[in-house]
Symmetry: C2
Amino acid sequence: MADRPILTVCTSCRAGHDLAEGQTPPGRLLHDALAEALATQPEPPVELRGAACMAACARGCTAAIAAPGKWTYLLGELDREMAGDLLTYASAYAAHATGALLPSRRPESLRRAVIARLPDFTLPKDPAA
Amino acid sequence: MADRPILTVCTSCRAGHDLAEGQTPPGRLLHDALAEALATQPEPPVELRGAACMAACARGCTAAIAAPGKWTYLLGELDREMAGDLLTYASAYAAHATGALLPSRRPESLRRAVIARLPDFTLPKDPAA
């Protein structure tokens, strides 16, 4: 895994709606808005990835951020207008020791976006948990 | 990471309810039911872990299963009565190449349990996604 956190966006997400023929899925639009914003940064805070269907359709658009040794956070109810806030959040996540940012440390649009968090499965078992 | 999948249960989960003083959280009961069932198996199909708050409170109890190179699946609305079904599912996940089991291949109680799935972040980026 790279040192930078990895931000994975569900590129097939329709955010609970049917798509008209030829319409780009909102998840792809979110991914591409993030890619565009990252392309302007000399030191992008995250590596952007896409995934086809993260199976969180009821709460799409969806993205997950992960880094070695940190909690993985799964976020939902995202849209392309939140790309800037997502990158602000990603920078704070990158700078945080465990990734467990308090809601008050997230941009306003993301305060209720957390669907779940998962421990880093590559770490040894914590016998106290 | 071990070769066996890792099944992580949110041990602090109250499944959306208040706890009476001294009451054991339902997430801990689920974890312990799984531990008890696994202890009877000569070759447990998974390594069981606990995590304190996986932040999916609205859909608790919650668990996640992960293995190197496979999709991580996050499951919700679980309870201790589903421990046997969870281990049946875990065995099928362990035997599956990608972990992406069709709902029809999961025990009935788990067909609607998937909250989300996440790619293995430790893999190299898939440029096609």
